[in-house]
Symmetry: C2
Subunit: 97 residues, 2 copies
Amino acid sequence: MDIKQLNTDTEIKQRVFFALSDPGRYKIISMLYHVGHEMGCNELNQHVEIDKSTMSYHLRTLREIGITNTRTQGRQKYVSLNKEKIETLLPGLLKLL
Amino acid sequence: MDIKQLNTDTEIKQRVFFALSDPGRYKIISMLYHVGHEMGCNELNQHVEIDKSTMSYHLRTLREIGITNTRTQGRQKYVSLNKEKIETLLPGLLKLL
DNA sequence: TTTATAGTTTTATGATTATCAAACAATACT
DNA sequence: AGTATTGTTTGATAATCATAAAACTATAAA
């Protein structure tokens, strides 16, 4: 653990809680957790019914918090949950969703 | 568990996460949890440095979500955490704070 | 090369939020 | 009665947020 943390653990925790406070983001996170593997944004869109630009907006938020990973293949982007990070920061949280 | 829930568990969870997403509220909740007993608003104010009206505003939010209890004695108000409710809804969450 | 698909960014908009000063209500103290 | 204390409410303000349409980028397919 780094001593000099510009973002303290508490601040990151608060951002994770923020991520989970919105219905759309909650569904995204919950979905990614329960399916257990990465999903294409489009595939996600079919399960979480929100406009694609809103989806993109939320996915950026999650990416910036650092709780998702994104992989690009062709013109598809696959999103997955950074379970390790979440589990390290807030052990047991994911299974509560 | 009641079948007819105007506020689903998921909605309430999201509100709890919302409560924890603000630095002031996070401190209030964390403080109440760690001291383990009720605190006067004034006493809380000494530990969580925010304006008294802002404090009152946040405490109302927590009360409305239903995760705090308030007891009035004379001109003092004592706030405590509704641990049971939180623990039932999100077991293990509090110890992550 | 044209067209379709996947996703992002921009822009605009309305809603929600956090903050604090000021006024207020209620109780306790002198 | 007057004053101090404890906390709430109101009102104003600035900031952040969620949403969606439209324009855009990049890749794949025809």
